[in-house]
């Protein structure tokens, strides 16, 4: 396994996935809070989330908290596994190098 997952292997999506994977499994985070943690523009974050969503790595849920619409983002089980495989592949590659 030396192929790096192209969905994750892009700086912006790697940062998004790493942040979501850093949350407790099953936790979901609001879009604005994720944006704050990543220091990305809303447009940029949306674009990359869509790519991750297309790969079924993340779920984007639009709900309401009272009257305020809230968007929650979470890593799917498949996404978490893909991230784990990705980091394992990285380590494998680095191990081969050294």
């Amino acid at each position: 396994m030396t192929e790096l997952d192209p969905v994750i292997h892009a700086a912006a999506r790697l940062r998004i996935t790493a942040t979501l994977a850093g949350l407790t499994e099953g936790d979901r985070i609001t879009f604005p809070r994720l944006q704050e943690l990543l220091d990305m523009t809303a447009g940029n974050l949306s674009t990359h989330l869509r790519k991750l969503e297309d790969a079924e790595y993340v779920v984007v849920e639009k709900t309401h908290q009272g009257r305020t619409p809230t968007t929650f983002v979470s890593l799917t089980r498949r996404g978490r596994r893909a991230f784990e495989d990705y980091t394992e592949t990285l380590r494998h590659l680095l191990g081969e190098k050294s």
Binding site: L4, R15, T19, D27, I29, P32, R33, L37, D39, L94
Partner: protein
């Protein structure tokens, strides 16, 4: 907010495996730091409350502080105000710790957060019940700080179990030791023990955690 990550070049793959791994570590450290940054402040606020509050009480009793006296009612008010103030500050910080996140971790945080006022109130009421049933003032002044330290120590140990934090485990054990040992010194010296050992442990652990987080920021 800066636009440093809007560069379309960032869409390109990170050039190397070690850079990608560094990016993962950097991002997860940033997340952890952001989520934990309020805790040293909480510990610091409680450390000041314990140190100043118990020193005030020690200065309020006969046979306490040899350098100066504070009238006991004023010392008691200072102590109560510091405790209430710290409870409010840590409730506010606590509610912000996991902001924007919903899910299993919320449950642990909420249970832990609610347990604090429940056990503190329960410990206080047990003391009141003993006082109503004849426990004299000297015994009260030994009992309240001890049970309070025991409760706080148990809460930090519970926190250590939930968040796998050695810092909190050490702090919890020191507070329990302080609470257990202090009554053996008799009143009012027990208050000095609480101020130095309990307050000191809170202040030092707050400082240690703050420095650890700052070191990770630089790494």
């Amino acid at each position: 907010m800066t636009d440093q990550h809007t560069d379309p070049d960032l869409d390109e793959a990170p050039p190397s495996a070690d850079e990608a791994l560094a990016l993962i570590r950097q991002q997860q450290t940033a997340l952890e730091r952001d989520q934990l940054s309020g805790i040293p402040w909480m510990l610091g606020v409680w450390g000041v409350a314990w140190s100043v509050g118990f020193l005030a009480l020690w200065s309020g009793y006969d046979g306490g502080n040899p350098w100066f006296r504070i009238p006991l009612p004023i010392a008691a008010i200072v102590f109560a105000a510091l405790l209430i103030g710290s409870a409010v500050v840590s409730a506010v910080i606590g509610m912000r710790l996991n902001r924007g996140v919903r899910g299993p971790s919320n449950f642990s945080g909420a249970v832990y957060g609610i347990a604090w006022p429940i056990v503190a109130l329960s410990a206080y009421l047990i003391g009141v019940a003993l006082a109503v049933n004849g426990m004299d003032r000297t015994m009260q002044s030994l009992f309240f700080p001890a049970i309070y330290a025991l409760v706080a120590g148990c809460m930090y140990i519970m926190g250590a179990a939930i968040w796998r934090s050695i810092d909190q485990l050490v702090l919890g054990i020191i507070l329990i030791v302080a609470g257990t040992v202090a009554p053996f010194f008799g009143a009012p010296t027990n208050n000095l023990v609480m101020a130095l050992v309990g307050g000191g442990a809170l202040l030092i652990s707050g400082l240690v955690m703050h420095l650890n987080l700052r070191r990770r920021r630089r790494a």
